[in-house]
């Protein structure tokens, strides 16, 4: 204790940077104990996997024998000798490029539209839009709506109207599988980002709009661009990250809707390819390479988009 006080007698200016940092570390010992338990679990189950999958991706590993270092072979095979990987990569990119931005826009537009409704009505409308994203496997109703027989609602309507005379096998037809999966993905995509936008819009200081009206903001579009969007940039950032992350992880729902593999592999995603190699074949090195590519794609897309959003209103 006495030693401790002696150290503190030294003022900030007399200490080197390292000494000062060490002083702060000791002063805040409790803080480190407080973050330690969480950080331990987080590092073990999130940071370690990312780093480990990078290392394992340079090896051949089946979990029984020791990993064998093969450098870039897994990546070379993936890109040059694995047609299914290319299909999966293409489908995943199409899927993410459509659902990510559309779900993001949808979340924002709906949140913006309901912003001026009275609170009670707004709460009900929020529930209607948010419910599908938390309703467990309620998305399976789409297989009933688009079922392959005449009891399916889509077929029934088209047949009643005389547009078709035999039922369409929606989820078994290569033309329709991808668009339908995208529609279902969008249906269940108004989640946390949507709630964040609602709260962000509610939190904007109303006097900004009054000031804007005086300064010559003419309509709600100008209001949106000059006042609303810049004021809720932090929420826009947070929402974008959730939208992108969600758009890349959409395997299990496709499997439930269209089966795996889907007809002609039209909705076969990286998610499916990964589970094929990590679950069925136990080629851990190869699967790690797929994991790591997915990691790079998610981080890359997120970095790019957050850069773009930080430019809003500048």
């Amino acid at each position: 204790m006495s030693k401790n006080t002696e150290k503190q007698v030294k003022t900030r200016h007399e200490m080197t940077k390292a000494e000062w940092t060490w002083f702060l570390v000791r002063k805040n010992k409790t803080a480190y104990f407080m973050v330690l338990p969480f950080m331990f679990i987080f590092v073990l189950f999130t940071v370690v996997p990312v780093v480990a999958s990078l290392f394992l991706s340079f090896t051949q590993f089946n979990m029984l024998e020791a990993p064998k270092f093969i450098f870039m072979d897994n990546y070379i095979t993936l890109f040059l000798d694995d047609e299914l990987f290319i299909t999966a990569l293409k489908n995943t990119l199409i899927f993410a490029a459509v659902t990510g931005p559309v779900s993001y826009l949808l979340s924002f537009v709906v949140a913006w539209f309901i912003n001026e409704l009275p609170p009670k009505i707004r709460a009900i409308v929020t529930l209607i839009f948010y419910a599908p994203s938390i309703a467990g496997n309620a998305y399976l109703i789409w297989t009933t709506l688009f079922s392959s027989d005449a009891y399916g609602w889509a077929n029934a309507i088209l047949m009643e109207l005389g547009i078709i005379d035999t039922p369409i096998l929606w989820f078994q037809n290569a033309t329709y599988v991808m668009p339908l999966c995208i529609i279902v993905a969008l249906w269940m995509s108004l989640g946390t980002a949507f709630l964040s936008f609602i709260a962000g819009l509610q939190g904007i200081n109303k006097s900004l709009y009054e000031a804007g009206a005086i300064d010559g903001v003419k309509n709600r579009w100008q209001e949106l661009w000059y006042i609303t969007l810049p004021s809720m940039k932090p929420q826009l950032m947070f929402g974008a990250i959730l939208a992108i992350t969600g758009a890349f992880g959409f395997g299990p729902v496709v499997t439930a809707l269209a089966g795996n593999p889907s007809v002609d592999y039209v909705a076969y995603t990286l998610n499916h390819h990964l589970s094929e190699y990590q679950g069925t074949r136990w080629e851990v090195g190869y699967a790690s390479a797929i994991s790591f590519i997915m990691f790079l794609m998610m981080i890359g897309a997120n970095m790019l988009i957050t850069k773009l959003i930080s430019k809003v209103g500048q």
Binding site: A135, L195, G279
Partner: protein, 291 residues
């Protein structure tokens, strides 16, 4: 910030055109129907007697509503090889265990990251923020290997412990503390000689109730909706969602009870949201990311 959400917006004449209002209403109605009809149809299907389920063209209403589908769902449950109560027990145990641990660990960290300025705190939070950018798909493979080395595969722990390190709740709680717990209050407690832990527990935590409610709901929903996983293979350790999806997979003969099963499953998270909506929105008020 928090108070502001509740007060009604005061009446200012803003530039609002009637045409714009009408257009917005129409677009909202179209999107709203797109969102609502499938949910509504699920509920309607679960109330239809057998003959109405196979009526052509399918109806968007039910002529003779019945609870038969729910009865046959419970019969199916009673006949299942593993007693259905066991699936419910598993799901509740995993959801409660995972949520509780996540709440305790996240709040401790969130407080330290938001309210104590210690070397490394910015870096740690940056890493956590970045982790929101990756989907659990990426970490699944190595986690399986880790869990099998520890020997937790096919135990509840394989699902509960990793959930403790889930970052979304921590992120929301940290942001909420930053805006809603004033440093002055904490400083005066510290001057009175309260330890950091004590300040955390009796000053900060009561001030962030909406945030921990939100964390509980998010964590619970995630665990509640967890379906099949390669971490568990014993039938008697599997979750309710898995059991329900087996009923859903029963094909056309079970389409009534399948709809009933979906309704039972989705009602829990939806009701929880209805009760807690205002708290969640309040928490989201500070959810923004400031680089």
């Amino acid at each position: 910030m928090a108070k502001k959400l509740r007060t009604r917006k005061h009446e200012v004449v803003l530039n609002r055109s009637v045409g714009g209002d009408a257009g917005i209403t129409v677009i909202l109605a179209i999107f709203g129907l797109f969102m609502f009809l499938p949910m509504y149809y699920t509920i309607i299907q679960s109330l239809k007697p057998m003959d109405e389920l196979f009526y052509f063209p399918p109806r968007f209403y039910v002529a003779n509503p019945t609870l038969d589908n729910f009865k046959s769902l419970f019969n199916l449950m009673a006949d299942s090889w593993v007693p259905f109560s066991r699936y419910i027990f598993n799901t509740v145990l995993i959801s409660v265990g995972g949520t509780f641990g996540n709440l305790v660990l996240s709040s401790l960290s969130a407080y330290a990251l938001a309210k104590i300025d210690f070397p490394g705190s910015k870096f740690l939070f940056q890493v956590i923020q970045k982790s929101l950018m990756i989907n659990a798909v990426v970490t699944g493979l190595v986690n399986f290997i880790t869990l099998s080395y520890i020997g937790w595969i096919d135990t509840y722990l394989a699902l509960i412990i990793p959930a403790w390190g889930s970052t979304l709740g921590l992120y929301l709680m940290k942001q909420f503390m930053e805006t809603n717990v004033t440093t002055e209050v904490l400083e005066s407690a510290r001057l009175d000689g309260a330890s950091e832990l004590r300040t955390f527990w009796s000053i900060a935590m009561p001030m962030v109730k909406p945030a921990w409610l939100t964390l509980i709901i998010y964590s619970f929903q995630g665990l509640w909706n967890m379906g099949q996983t390669n971490l568990i293979y014993s039938e008697q350790l599997k979750t309710l969602n898995y059991a329900i999806s087996q009923i859903n997979a029963g094909g056309i003969a079970r389409s009534g009870s399948s709809a009933a099963a979906t309704v039972v499953m989705m009602m829990v998270p939806i009701l929880v949201f209805v009760v807690s909506q205002s708290n969640i929105i309040e928490t989201m008020g500070s959810s923004g990311m400031k680089d």
